[in-house]
């Protein structure tokens, strides 16, 4: 694991200080938003599994920053960060987590199935690796129409051990679809370490045989992710061919809400978590902003309090929103056909 890489000392050419501040504030919003989730869950405002992205924010933020309005993205169930990075209204995301009618999917999908069609976000999916074949279809559709759009497909290290992902990677290369496969390697598939689950733990190495370019990059440093993502997405948009990128990252919290510190002790040490927390992408980026004179301490405090306020506002909005009406139970099963009520 090469996570010790020092924080970058210079801004990439294409990144203005102003844009960096925007991205920093995006990460901050994701963090503050998700910090509201566990308490709301404990109060019974949410159900389900609830997987937070805390620690991995630089990955979604750094890649999605390069998406055009007409590009697509698709991801796994750990999807709050991706939706917020893409610009989905935090109120509607929180309302979805609360199972309310104002949520992004009318409260019918929940935490694992966020979506934002207007922004090309084709959804979060709950079956590990299940959406990777879908990304090939999206990429094929792009090729079919002959546009220069791309599709970003985010999944975890656990997905590398499920068969359909390998069918999809091969087919992506066979049809040369413009898809960036972004494997967020946070080192654990639930509690199973990647070294145990993958005979070749270097996942970029493992993907190399599929006949597409691959790369392993650091995921804890926003600047590094941003710069690498820019090159990769540019390549895929203009070549076109798929690209597999393994991003080394870490989740500071458990796999899901039930994976509490007692359970986590069964698979990782406090020291290990502390080691990675030292590489917190938000703290790192804040330090960069200060050291390079891009922001002042008071600005950082102000942005933090705005992010916190946005998160609290999202909670208040969700809490005040109505549940979906009972008719919704039978809606959307088919586009054109009623389903008989069972009572």
């Amino acid at each position: 694991m090469r996570a010790e890489a020092p924080v970058k000392k210079a801004l990439p050419k294409s990144l203005t200080p102003q844009r960096l501040v925007e991205l920093y504030r995006k990460m901050l919003l994701i963090r503050r938003f998700e910090e509201q989730c566990a308490p709301a869950y404990r109060q019974g405002k949410m159900g389900g599994y609830m997987h937070v992205y805390i620690g991995q924010e630089a990955v979604a933020t750094g890649f999605i920053a390069h998406m055009r309005d007409d590009d697509y993205m698709i991801c796994s169930y750990r999807d709050h960060g991706h939706a917020l990075a893409r610009g989905t209204d935090p109120r509607r995301v929180m309302a979805e987590l609360f199972g309310r009618y104002t949520g992004v999917a009318k409260g019918k999908g929940g935490s694992m199935h966020l979506v934002d069609v207007q922004r090309g976000f084709l959804g979060g999916y709950g079956i590990v690796g299940g959406m990777v074949p879908l990304a090939v279809g999206v990429g094929y559709g792009i090729r079919y129409r002959g546009t220069d759009q791309v599709c970003l497909c985010f999944f975890g290290d656990g997905a590398m051990n499920i068969g359909p992902v390998h069918e999809a990677l091969n087919m992506a290369a066979v049809y040369k679809v413009p898809v960036v496969f972004i494997c967020e390697n946070n080192r654990y598939a639930m509690a199973t370490p990647i070294e145990f689950a993958s005979a070749v733990p270097n996942l970029a190495e493992r993907a190399r045989q599929y006949g597409m370019p691959t790369k392993q990059i650091e995921g804890m440093d926003l600047l590094e992710v941003y710069q690498e993502a820019e090159e990769i997405i540019h390549h895929v948009r203009h070549t076109p061919e798929p690209f597999f990128v393994e991003v080394l990252t870490y989740r500071f919290e458990g796999h899901g809400i039930a994976d509490n510190p007692t359970n986590q002790a069964l698979y990782r040490t406090k020291e290990e978590v502390e080691y990675w927390r030292q590489r917190d992408p938000i703290v790192n980026t804040a330090r960069f902003l200060i050291e390079n004179g891009i922001a002042s301490e008071s600005e950082l405090l102000e942005w933090d309090s705005i992010a916190k306020q946005q998160a609290l506002d999202a909670v208040a909005f969700a809490d005040a929103s109505p549940e979906p009406p009972l008719e919704e139970l039978y809606r959307d099963v088919y586009t054109d056909m009623e389903v008989q009520e069972w009572r």
């Binding site: 019918k108 999908g109 979506v115 559709g141 079919y144 359909p164 087919m171 099963v333």
Partner: protein, 325 residues
């Protein structure tokens, strides 16, 4: 009317829909250069090119997923499974993705696609290649399930399937591909959820779909000739949606029902039909609803055993006599 095969009828439907709508494309194993394992797609690669007639690796999950993804952004893929026995590999994509996407995203993403191919057995393909399993798909909210028995129905319903905005499971039967039937020359479609009374009768209602419809019609003719028993044969044509009105109308006329399918009897689609008939027309029944279905065994290879595992005309005749006894 033209007399053509079931296979040609399917090909006509694919061709006409591809001519009509540039968003329609085909993908599957051996459908292009090899012209289709059952020759359904013969000539289509030459006619429409490799972008619209896509040969795939042997990757059923990949095929299904690719079709779903393309459908999500507005294309209309028609994915062929070489047989529905191989679709089992793609079950997660079909059940947990295609069937769920509209609902779990609150109605915002449509998945207009067709999964088609042969189902069923009868060619000594033994245990792993003889599945029907239409009841599995009909069990899943979000999927439509279509099982045409004649060339005319196959053509009209495949066109409807391609135009449908939902995932459609379109099950053909390998034994039907070479059967012939009259097909209208003019453009037509056949809606889902409308059963076809393929033979009128007063004494017993036989409900069937796919290849067993032909068997039921032959059994009905024999019963009329030799016993003077007049069977009404209903071809369901689609299982989801299911045309209960036609079924119940016939039950109210004959008061006796035999359901026929090739799929296993246990928890098969016949059980659903029998349950609904007793629920909605209990007082109209003069006898229990009987099922003639595949044996509850893995399908064996030996010709005599395989024959015994699938329903036959004789089984249907016996059941009709029993339901009248």
């Amino acid at each position: 009317m033209a007399l053509i095969t079931y296979r040609e009828a399917l090909r006509q439907a694919l061709t006409e829909e591809m001519e009509r709508d540039p968003n329609v494309f085909l993908l599957g194993e051996e459908i292009g250069r090899y012209q289709g394992t059952f020759r359904v797609t013969e000539g289509l690669l030459q006619r429409f090119g490799g972008m619209r007639v896509v040969d795939t690796p042997i990757s059923e999950s990949g095929i299904a997923g690719m079709a779903i993804g393309a459908a999500m952004i507005g294309l209309r893929p028609v994915a062929e499974f070489m047989t529905f026995s191989f679709a089992l590999i793609a079950m997660d994509q079909i059940v947990n993705h295609a069937a769920k996407i509209l609902y779990m995203f609150g109605g915002q993403i449509r998945v207009p696609l067709v999964f088609r191919g042969p189902a069923g057995g009868g060619a000594q393909l033994s245990a792993q290649h003889s599945h029907s399993l239409e009841s599995w798909y009909a069990h899943i909210p979000g999927l439509k399930v279509v099982t045409p028995a004649t060339p005319a129905d196959a053509k009209g319903m495949l066109k409807t399937a391609i135009r449908d905005d939902n995932p459609v499971i379109f099950m053909e039967h390998a034994k039907l591909y070479s059967t012939r039937g009259e097909v209208p020359e003019d453009e037509y479609t056949i809606p889902f959820g409308s059963a076809d009374v393929k033979r009128q009768g007063e004494d017993v209602t036989i409900i069937a779909y796919s290849q067993p419809v032909l068997m039921a019609l032959r059994a009905a003719e024999k019963l009329a000739e030799t016993e003077g028993i007049e069977c009404e044969v209903i071809d369901l044509r689609s299982l989801q949606p299911l045309d209960m009105d036609t079924i119940l109308g016939s039950v109210r006329k004959t008061h006796r029902v035999v359901v026929v399918h090739e799929d296993h009897r246990n928890v098969g689609f016949g059980a659903e039909i029998a349950a609904r008939i007793q629920e909605f027309a209990f007082d109209d029944l003069d006898a229990p609803v009987l099922r003639v279905a595949g044996a509850d065994v893995p399908i064996p290879y030996a010709r005599n055993l395989e024959r015994a595992a699938f329903p036959s005309e004789e089984d249907i005749i016996r059941a009709v006599k029993r339901v009248l006894a």
